[in-house]
Structure formats: structure tokens, C-alpha cells
Symmetry: C2
Subunit: 415 residues, 2 copies
């Protein structure tokens, strides 16, 4: 058997007022640690129904892991339900009480009486301290060794508790000796089918490490997962495969693991020591918004001009009226003039420009909805591209942003 099931507690989940993202997060962590999870459930704030669900799960699996329902209010019933389901009494846990008192002291507030309730745990529980809130987690263990682990529903409290407390306990409980190490290679300017084509043989030959390709809007992640007795040997198993993937996807991998495309662009700008300015028509401010989401963006990002109106393209970017009349506002010629204009006027070394048709109206046979022109002007010259993107207005705007950042990254990063 050796498996667990997940439980999200909260009536708001069953009224559709909240999407449960905790279960997906916990499931991913379990998968990475090689612990099987065959089902996930959501149940309302009802003591009998929560208890019945825990009992059913323990008929099938070794344990249940719940999130939510550990707060101080009368609606918070997970702990009482666990006690019912496992036939355990609740008793005041001195450590848990001290922790809650400490939390209130740290935020300078007085602890209320109903927070005392949170320090009661099922007899014999393993406490899971919560430095980020008042609800301590715990693992309650039945006489036969089966267990129910409970964590708070607030993600910023649950996530560190899972990583620092519950996962180590589960790994020891399930005798997980192997570590799983994951390495994600982020690619851009290459489609999922082209990646599949280039690495099909590696898919077939790789069981451990295993490879997976995940497609996002206009970029793909290639994930390598290695199972090994130590993280050192997992790293050694990943290294040659990563090297092979890097060779086959040369020029497309902009970063690994937590790196974002806009972060990679900023790092490349740092390497070159060249500041950037953007002229956005189609992307309407989204490139600037993406780059300024990175802390420290002001280091290399000067700013941009959102030239939605053609008069703004002419006045603020110096795009000649003749260029717009002759080639149209959506043309490589206009995009080049915009890139040149924003580079000159904002005193940047790199100018990036986008112009296109996001729809739903404004398309033509020659330039359908989804047409995107991207141009770059920098010390190495000027160049432009025309792409055809699919989807509704929102998808086209998102893909246009990724496509433009991807082209910029390639142009400034690859020698």
C-alpha cells in the first residue's frame, strides 16, 4: 500500500468561493519525494463529514494529509474530527501553547482565549510548529500506526511547515531513502514539437533520470528528475543528461529552476552593461510590466513608451508618417523605426519594439489577428521579425510579450 490521500477542509471550497491550490502544492512535493498519492478530497466545515472522510481514507491508505480548519473559530473543526476518527482525546500541548504565546508576543498583540483552543492536540501527536501563524500543525497517530497529518490552510504557513517539518517526518515514516532531485531547463523560441523531435531518443532511453516537457505560452520547460540515494549521486546522474540536452537545445535555454525569462533578460543586460528601453504597441505595457516585476530592474531598465496611438508613434518615437502610410503601423519597418526611436530618445543602448494586431478586430487577409512584428536596435545593428500568434486577445498579448522577450534574450545573450 504505502500511500497517502489529501484532504482540503473548508466550506468555501465547496461553494466555489476559493480554488484549492494547497492540494496541488502538497501533491507535487509528495511526488518529488516518491510518496504515492492516489486521491485528493475537499470537504466542508462539518465535524462528522470530516471524521468520516478520514476514517475512509485510512481504510485505503497509510495516512491522510489535511490543510485548513485549524483556526481559532467555531468553524475550525479539523482537530476535533481527527480526534473522533482516530479515537484519541485532545489534550493541552505545553509546547504548542508556548509557541502560540510567543507568536502573539512577537507581533505585539494580546492572545485571546479562543487561541488557547489551538494548543490542544490529539494525545500522542507529533507537533508541527508554525512560526508564521497561530495554528500549530500535528501528526496524529492511530494505534495501528496509520496517521492523519494536519496543516493550516494559509499557504504561507503551510508551505514552510510542509518542507521543514512534515516532509522529513513522512520520509522517515515511509523509509524513503532515495532523494529526488529536479532540474528544470527553461527554453524559449522553440516549440514543444521541435523539442520532442530533437530529444525523442532521450525520452525513450531515460527512466532514471526521467525527462518531461511542459509547454507554456510560447516557451517550454524541460524537466529532469533523478532518484538516487543521495543528492550528490542524483546530481551526478543529472549532469551528463543535462549536458546532452544543453547541446541539443543550444541557444534556447535561458535559465534553470527558478529563473524567469524577464530575470534572464535582466541578467543578460547586466552582462553586457547595456541599458534597455522598450516601445510597445501590441504588448501595451506588458514587457515593461514583466521586467519591472524583477527586483533591481531599475539597474538596466530605463523605461518605455506605450505607443498605442499612431500619433504617439510619430511624436514620441519619431516614426515617420510616411513609414506608417507606406508599410502600415503593423510592419517590420514601423517596428524598426519604433525601436530606433525609443533607443535614441531614452538614451538607451538597446531599443526593443512590438507592433501587431491583438484582435478581436483589426485583422486583414494580409495581416490577420495574431500578427506580431518585433524589432531590436542596439550597438550591433537593427533587425526585425514577423510572427503569427494564436489564441484570443489575452493569449495573443501574453504570447507576444514572451516572444519579444525571448527574441531580445537571444539577441543580447547568444554571441
Amino acid at each position: 500500500m504505502s500511500s497517502v490521500e489529501l484532504v482540503a477542509v473548508g466550506t468555501e471550497l465547496l461553494l466555489g468561493q476559493l480554488v484549492d491550490t494547497n492540494s496541488s502544492y502538497v501533491a507535487a512535493a509528495l511526488a518529488e519525494n516518491g510518496i504515492d498519492c492516489y486521491a485528493s478530497h475537499a470537504v466542508g466545515d462539518n465535524r462528522e463529514r470530516i471524521a468520516a472522510l478520514f476514517r475512509e481514507i485510512l481504510d485505503r491508505a497509510d495516512g491522510a494529509i489535511s490543510t485548513g480548519g485549524l483556526g481559532p473559530t467555531v468553524d475550525d473543526l479539523t482537530k476535533e474530527a481527527v480526534a473522533d476518527a482516530l479515537g484519541l482525546a485532545l489534550e493541552l500541548d505545553g509546547d504548542a501553547l508556548a509557541e502560540i504565546e510567543g507568536f502573539f508576543a512577537s507581533i505585539g498583540r494580546t492572545m485571546r482565549e479562543n487561541n488557547r483552543k489551538q494548543a490542544y492536540l490529539p494525545v500522542g501527536s507529533v507537533p508541527l510548529p508554525n512560526p508564521h501563524g497561530t495554528a500549530p500543525g500535528f501528526v496524529a497517530i492511530r494505534a495501528d500506526g496509520k496517521f492523519v497529518a494536519c496543516m493550516p490552510g494559509v499557504p504561507r504557513e503551510m508551505k514552510p511547515m510542509l518542507a521543514e517539518r512534515l516532509l522529513p517526518w513522512l520520509r522517515s515514516r515511509f523509509n524513503v531513502r532515495e532523494g529526488i532531485l529536479t532540474r528544470v531547463l527553461h527554453t524559449v523560441n522553440i516549440g514543444e514539437s521541435e523539442i520532442d523531435h530533437r530529444i525523442a531518443d532521450l525520452f525513450a532511453s531515460s527512466e532514471n533520470p526521467k525527462i518531461a516537457v511542459l509547454a507554456h505560452d510560447y516557451r517550454c520547460d524541460v524537466k529532469i528528475m533523478a532518484k538516487a540515494a543521495s543528492s550528490e549521486s542524483a546530481r551526478m546522474a543529472i549532469a551528463p543528461l543535462e549536458e546532452e540536452l544543453r547541446a541539443r537545445l543550444r541557444g534556447h535555454i535561458f535559465g534553470i529552476d527558478a529563473m524567469t525569462l524577464e530575470g534572464a533578460v535582466l541578467a543578460a543586460l547586466d552582462e553586457r552593461g547595456e541599458p534597455l528601453a522598450v516601445a510597445e504597441s501590441r504588448t501595451g505595457g506588458r514587457i515593461a510590466a514583466a521586467i519591472t516585476a524583477v527586483p533591481g530592474a531599475s539597474r538596466r531598465f530605463l523605461g518605455g513608451i506605450v505607443a498605442y496611438d499612431n500619433a504617439v508613434k510619430q511624436r514620441q518615437l519619431g516614426v515617420p508618417e510616411e513609414t506608417i502610410e507606406r508599410f502600415g503601423a503593423v510592419s517590420e519597418e514601423s517596428a524598426l523605426a519604433m525601436a530606433r526611436g525609443v533607443r535614441d530618445r531614452l538614451h538607451a543602448q538597446i531599443g526593443l519594439a512590438t507592433t501587431g494586431i491583438a484582435g478581436p478586430d483589426g485583422g486583414s487577409a494580409e495581416k490577420p489577428v495574431g500578427t506580431l512584428c518585433v524589432a531590436i536596435a542596439d550597438p550591433r545593428g537593427e533587425r526585425a521579425w514577423t510572427l503569427h500568434l494564436r489564441g484570443d486577445r489575452a493569449a495573443i498579448q501574453a504570447r507576444a510579450t514572451t516572444a519579444a522577450l525571448g527574441l531580445l534574450w537571444r539577441e543580447i545573450k547568444i554571441p
Copy 2:
């Protein structure tokens, strides 16, 4: 009893590779239609486990509603599991087959053999046609009248099937005679606690129609739900309460139901016949991105200047160096100069500007992280505000965008 439970099918849900948003969507629709839902489950692509789950649910509830697992591949096993659980055979449904053939004809592709599999339904099922894809839905009914309703997992196929086919069937099955009508009033520039304070007595006195307040980043929704025998009488029940709420929240309700804040800003610009230009420092392009997300934005949105660097504020917006030196770039004075500058230079009638500190660095005792200055320059004059926002960098940037749009809406909309 008279209740249903939900099932989301897909191994990817239990590996944390996908967050299940379908269940929340279906749950909200059930709640609005007065159909009780006491639990929700996710299960992998495993025929035995799916069938066992359906059987358990029918021990407790009147029916199960599933999403996912209706595709053409060998991994898609929901239908087979339903047949197992209910003891029904699968048979070719002529109408379903014709519909799938019609779908392929409409997109100009040839139907493959494995798509024929999708036309097999449990004997006696009520088919739920799918005009947006190849997977027909269905309601399979057990001899005792309990049922399993299955819909595809792709949201754009599932949502119309739920609204147009399954909900009418469920309402008739559960004899739901009453309609539920919902009206959402979207507010801005007012906090949740202030709203609570102003309408507390209405909360207490209103059972039907019922009121709920939902807080988002820097704006709140007030939801009115009325249950009545006809939508006409539901409308009549809502009207006086809506009027009362509008009086108490005067000046804060920017739209109803599907209206967005950026859509309300664009509509207000249309009413005034005044084009807008934005100068963004703190919000880094997010205001432009929000407005250009609305189809037809080009009608009243000329463009903007993302003035991240102070030199850009000076050169592109004409903010005097002296103003920045004397008051700082984050000041009402600088924001006013930016609003004035973008209005003049882009030949707009309304200029909106933001400047502030999004963090994590750059704060001071006088101007902590989260400080936001907003300014507007228009034919009615110039004015500026200083706000203090909370959260991390991403939250501050999102809240700053909403706050600025909310102030702009109020200033151009309210006489």
C-alpha cells in the same frame, strides 16, 4: 439527502502538475442553483479507482459530477469506470458519433479511429452535446435513479456544457423550482471594513436576498443573491436592496456583474470624450497593460510613458530636475509634473501618473516601501494623492495599479 459530489479525473492533478479549477467552477454553479455539494475529489487515470470512488459517492449522495478523462487516448477511462460502477454496458450513440464527425468537418480535419471511441456512452445515458470539442458529455443513470454526470476537463468545453445542458437537467432532476439571480456590485476606493460598517444592518436583516462582501486587491465586490420562483420576481427582490446599497456606497460602485475596473475607466473616458495618457513609474506599465486588455481600448487610450529612470522622467515627461531634487521622485509634486508632462506631450486631455516604492529595497522611514503617489491632470485641474500599500513587491504593484485606476475612475466619472 438530495446532494451531489464532484470528481476531477487526471493523474496530473495528483502529481501537482495542474491545479483543478473546474471543481470550484462547478461548485459555484451548483451553489447558485441551490443544489447541495458536500464533497469534492480528485482521482488519477485508473479505471478501478475511479469506479470505486463513484460507487462510494452514490452510497452517500444522489449523484456524482465528474470532469476530465473523456478524451480519445488510452489514458481516458472515466466512461469505462462509470459503466463499471453503475453496471451498464457501453454502446455506440449515433447522435454522439454524428456530432463528433460534424466537429471534425467544421475544423476541416479527418476524424481518427480513436475518436469513434468517444461516441460510446453507457446504455440509457442522457447525452450532453459538446459543440466546442470532440468529447461528448453524458449523464449515466443507475437502476435506482442515482446518476453520474460526466463532462470533459477542458474548461472552455466544460463551462458551456454545464450551463446549457447539465444545469437544466440537474434543476429538473432535483425539482429546483426556484431560480437564483445574482447581482454583483463592484466597488473601489473603499475598504472591506468600511463597507461592513456601512451595511451591517442590511447583512443582519437580509436572508433572501442575501448579501456577501468579497475583498480583492484594493477593491471589493458586494454580491446580492435572490432566490425566487421566477427570474422576474428575483429581479424585483434584488431591486430595492440594490438601490439601498447604491445609496450607501455612492461614489464607489464602478460597475456590475462582468464589468472590470479598466472597462469602467474606458467607458467613463468614452462618456467624457476625453483621451487618456499615462506616466508610470511605480506601476511599470501595468496600468497601460490593464487598459489595453479591453477590446477597443485604442478608442480612448493614446499610450503612455514608463518612466522608470529619473532621466526619462525629466526628458520624456519634462519633470524639472529641481522638483525631483527638492521633493524626491516619489512625491506628489513629481507625480503631478509627470501627469502634466504626459498629458501635454501625448496631446491627451487626461494625464494619469504613478510614482512610488515597490520594494523590497528603496524604502525609508519617511517614505516606506509601499508608498504610492498618484496624480491626475485634466481639463478640470490637477490633483494628487499619497497612499500606503501593503504586501510584497508583486502585491504592491498590483494594488498600486488598482488604486490608480480607481482614483482615475472616480475623478472622471463622479460629477
